[in-house]
C-alpha cells in the first residue's frame, strides 16, 4: 500500500515573499524586491520536483535464528534501490517485532540511494520467549525539496524463535468423537486401562479377558480410556481496552496474547488437534477449527497479518459508542459459530466485559479456559486498583468453574499452563 502526501512545508515561504514585498514597497527599496523574487523561486521549488518512485527491496539476516532468552540477536537489514531513479531522501523504519526491544543501534535510517545501490541497517534486539515475526519495513521517500512524501512498505519473512515450545496444553474434557491424543474418562479402545465390565454382545473378541474366563467362567471385557481429538478455538480479546502495557517500553497485552495464541496453536497442532481462531473486539477474525498443513499456515498468517490482530490500538475515531452492546452483539454471533468446542479465551481481564464473555461461552456449552497475560503493576494507586480488580475477576471465574491461567508474560507460558493442569479442569 502506497500513500502519497504533500508536506506543504514550503507554504510559509509565500508569507516571507509577501513581507519582503510589502516592506520593499513601503520603504521604496528595489533590493528588497529582489529578495522577494528569490523567495518566489523557493515557493515554486516543490512544484517542479517530482515525487519519488519507491521501488525498494529488503533483505534481512539474523546472526542467530533461535536464540536463548535474553540473548542479543544482531539484525542486518539490507535495502536495495530496485528502481531506475535516484532516491534522494529515503527514510526507513525496520519492522521490529512488537515483543522485542532494540538494545543496540537503531532500526531506523535515512539515506540516499542511487539505482541498484544498497544500504544496511544493523541493530541488536534482546530475545524474549516466543515466535517473533518481523513486520513489513516502512519506507518513506521524499523528493529533494521535501514537498511530497511517498510512504510504502517492503516485506521479507524473518522469524526469531526463542525457546517457545509449550510441552502440553491443558484441555478440558468436552471433546468430539474422533480419535486423538486427549485422554478421556470414557471407556473404549485406547492405551490406558480404564475398567473391566461384563461382556456384552458385540464387544470385540480381542478385548475379552480370557484369563478371568478361564478362572471363573465369567466373560468380561477390558476397557481402556478412549483417546479423542479435541476441537479448540483460540479467542483473542483485541478490544481497545486490551492494548494495555506495564510501561510504554513493554509489549501490550494484545501482543502477548497473540504470541501465546500462536504457541498454543503450535502445540495443539503438534498433538493432532483441530484448532480455530476468533477475536472479540475490532473487526472480527473467524477461522473455524481445522487441521492439516494448509490450515496451520492459514492460522499463522491470520495471526500475523489480519487487521484484527493489529499491534497498534484502534484510533479514537474507530471506538464504538456503546461498548457493552457491541460486545454483546459480538458474543451472540460467536456463540452461534462456536457450538460446543474447547475455547481458549486470551484476555488481560482489564474489564468485566472479558469475564462476561467467558461466562457467556461457558453457559453456551463451550469448555472455556481463560489465559490471561498479566499487565498490571503496583506503581501507582490506580495501577494497584486495576490489579485488585483483575485478581477479583480471576477469582470470580475460578469460582464459576472456569480454569484460568494467570500468566506474567516474562514467565514461561508452558509453566503457567501446567499450573492449571495440576489445579484440574
Amino acid at each position: 500500500m502506497t500513500t502519497v502526501r504533500r508536506t506543504r512545508r514550503w507554504r510559509g515561504v509565500v508569507a516571507v515573499v509577501l513581507l519582503a514585498l510589502a516592506v520593499g514597497v513601503v520603504a521604496k527599496r528595489p533590493s528588497l524586491l529582489l529578495v522577494a523574487a528569490t523567495g518566489i523561486a523557493f515557493a515554486a521549488y516543490p512544484a517542479v520536483t517530482t515525487p519519488p518512485e519507491l521501488d525498494v527491496s529488503v533483505e534481512r539476516r539474523l546472526d542467530v535464528d533461535s536464540p536463548a532468552v535474553d540473548d542479543t540477536v544482531t539484525v542486518t537489514t539490507t535495502l536495495r534501490n530496485e528502481g531506475t531513479e535516484m532516491l534522494t531522501d529515503l527514510r526507513v523504519v525496520d519492522g521490529v517485532p512488537a515483543m522485542l526491544s532494540v538494545v543496540d543501534g537503531s532500526p531506523r535510517v535515512a539515506t540516499a540511494l542511487r539505482p541498484g545501490k544498497e544500504a544496511t541497517i544493523e541493530y541488536a534486539v534482546r530475545a524474549e520467549r516466543g515466535v517473533h515475526r518481523f513486520e513489513p519495513t516502512t519506507v518513506v521517500g521524499r523528493d529533494i525539496s521535501g514537498g511530497t512524501e511517498v510512504e510504502t512498505t517492503a516485506a521479507t519473512k524473518t522469524v526469531i524463535e526463542c525457546s517457545a515450545r509449550i510441552p502440553a496444553v491443558p484441555l478440558r474434557k468436552l471433546t468430539r468423537n474422533r480419535t486423538g491424543q486427549l485422554v478421556t474418562d470414557r471407556g473404549g479402545s485406547g492405551l490406558e486401562f480404564h475398567r473391566i465390565k461384563a461382556y456384552e454382545r458385540g464387544d470385540p473378541v480381542g478385548r475379552i479377558d480370557w484369563r478371568r474366563f478361564a478362572r471363573s467362567r465369567e466373560l468380561t471385557t477390558v476397557e481402556f480410556r478412549e483417546e479423542r481429538l479435541a476441537e479448540v478455538v483460540l479467542c483473542v480479546d483485541t478490544r481497545a481496552i486490551a492494548y494495555r502495557a506495564r510501561s510504554p517500553n513493554d509489549p501490550h497485552a494484545v501482543a502477548s496474547a497473540v504470541d501465546a495464541a500462536e504457541r498454543i496453536a503450535e502445540s495443539l497442532f503438534a498433538s493432532g488437534h483441530r484448532v480455530g481462531l476468533a477475536t472479540i473486539g475490532r473487526g472480527s477474525c473467524w477461522l473455524p477449527a481445522g487441521s492439516g498443513p494448509d490450515h496451520e499456515d492459514q492460522l499463522r498468517a491470520r495471526l500475523s497479518t489480519h487487521p484484527s490482530f493489529s499491534m497498534s490500538p484502534p484510533p479514537p475515531s474507530e471506538t464504538v459508542d456503546d461498548e457493552d452492546a457491541d460486545l454483546d452483539r459480538q458474543l451472540s454471533v460467536l456463540r452461534e459459530r462456536l457450538g460446543t468446542v474447547q475455547l481458549f479465551l486470551l484476555t488481560p481481564l482489564c474489564d468485566d466485559g472479558a469475564t462476561r464473555a467467558a461466562r457467556t461461552f461457558e453457559a453456551a456449552g463451550c469448555a472455556v479456559t481463560v489465559v490471561s497475560p498479566d499487565v498490571t503493576t503496583d506503581a501507582t494507586a490506580g495501577a494497584r486498583l486495576a490489579r485488585i480488580g483483575r485478581r477479583n475477576r480471576l477469582r470470580a471465574l475460578r469460582s464459576a468453574g472456569i480454569p484460568t491461567v494467570d500468566w506474567r508474560p516474562d514467565d514461561r507460558l508452558g509453566t503457567a499452563l501446567a499450573t492449571v493442569e495440576r489445579w484440574g479442569p
Binding site: 508536506t7 512545508r9 514550503w10 507554504r11 510559509g12 509565500v14 516571507v16 515573499v17 509577501l18 513581507l19 519582503a20 514585498l21 516592506v23 520593499g24 514597497v25 520603504a27 521604496k28 527599496r29 528595489p30 533590493s31 528588497l32 524586491l33 529582489l34 529578495v35 523574487a37 528569490t38 523567495g39 518566489i40 523561486a41 523557493f42 515557493a43 515554486a44 521549488y45 516543490p46 512544484a47 534522494t88 531522501d89 529515503l90 527514510r91 526491544s101 532494540v102 538494545v103 543496540d104 543501534g105 537503531s106 531506523r108 535510517v109 535515512a110 539515506t111 540516499a112 541493530y123 529533494i144 525539496s145 521535501g146 506495564r246 510501561s247 517500553n249 513493554d250 503493576t377 516474562d410
Partner: protein, 245 residues
C-alpha cells in the same frame, strides 16, 4: 523485583526512540543563520556583538543538548547552568547591540537576528518537545527581519542582501528538515547522508536563484517602473500559490 530491574535496564537502553531534531542539520542551520546576520550586519562593531552572541548560543546549545541527553541530577544541574550562562551571554550581547552601535538604525537592525538565533537554537535542542517547528519558524523569521531591516537602511549592497535572504531561507529549510528527520527516525538513527543530500539540493537551488536574479538584474532592463516590478512580483506570487494549491 526482577520486573523493576528489567524496566530500569530498558530505560537505560541507548537506542530507545528519542524524538530530537537531527544534530548535523541543526548545527548547519544555526551556522547559516549566523552567516546571514553577519552578511547584513557588516560593521566591525556589529560583528563583534554577533561574535559574543554566537558564544552565548553555543553555550546554550551545549548545555541544552547535554540536558536532553542525560537527565540524572548531577548532569542536569551542570547542563542547565551552562545553558543559562550561555543565554545570559546572549542577553548581554542583546544589551550591547541595543546600546553600543553609534547609529540608531544599526541598533534596531541587529536585535531581531540575535533573538532569532537563540529561538532557532531553542527549537533544535529542543527546549520543548512538540514546539520545535514553531521555534524554528519564529527564529528564522526574526533573522529574516534583520535582513529586511538591512535592506531598509541600505547598510549593505543589494547583492549581499540577496545572498543573506537566500541563506536565511536555506537555514530554515535545513532546520525544518532536521526536525522532520528527528520526528520520524529519532536521534539514534544514522541520517547524515540524507541530511547532506537535502542540504546540498536546497543550497544549489538557492545559488541558482541568486545567480538568476542577479543576471536578470544585471541585464539592466531600464524603463521598468517600480510599480511594474511590484505587479510582476505579485503575479509571480499568485501564480505559485495557484500552482501549489
Amino acid at each position: 523485583m526482577i520486573d523493576a530491574e528489567r524496566r530500569q535496564s530498558r530505560a537505560a537502553d541507548a537506542s530507545l526512540f528519542r524524538r530530537r531534531p537531527a544534530r548535523t542539520s541543526g548545527a548547519i542551520a544555526v551556522v547559516l543563520a549566523a552567516v546571514a546576520i553577519a552578511l547584513v550586519a557588516d560593521d566591525p562593531g556589529q560583528r563583534r556583538i554577533l561574535a559574543v552572541a554566537l558564544v552565548g548560543v553555543t553555550g546554550f546549545i551545549a548545555g541544552g543538548t547535554l540536558w536532553r541527553r542525560d537527565r540524572s541530577a548531577g548532569v542536569t544541574v551542570v547542563a542547565v547552568a551552562v545553558a543559562i550562562i550561555g543565554t545570559l551571554v546572549l542577553v548581554s550581547a542583546l544589551g550591547l547591540g541595543l546600546t553600543r552601535p553609534p547609529r540608531y538604525v544599526e541598533r534596531i537592525e541587529l536585535l531581531p537576528g540575535l533573538a532569532g538565533l537563540w529561538l532557532l537554537a531553542a527549537g533544535l535542542v529542543p527546549l520543548r518537545l512538540g514546539s520545535e517547528r514553531v521555534l524554528v519558524d519564529a527564529g528564522t523569521g526574526l533573522v529574516f527581519l534583520t535582513v529586511l531591516a538591512g535592506g531598509v537602511i541600505q547598510s549593505s549592497p543589494p547583492r549581499t542582501l540577496l545572498l543573506a535572504g537566500v541563506v536565511t531561507i536555506v537555514a530554515w529549510d535545513i532546520a525544518e528538515n532536521a526536525v522532520s528527520l528527528g520526528g520520524q527516525l529519532g536521534v539514534a538513527a544514522g541520517t547524515v547522508r540524507a541530511e547532506a543530500i537535502h542540504a546540498v539540493g536546497t543550497g544549489v537551488v538557492g545559488a541558482a536563484t541568486v545567480g538568476l536574479v542577479l543576471f536578470i538584474n544585471g541585464l539592466n532592463v531600464d524603463g521598468v517602473p517600480f510599480a511594474g516590478l511590484i505587479a510582476m512580483l505579485v503575479a509571480g506570487v499568485a501564480l505559485t500559490l495557484f500552482y501549489n494549491r
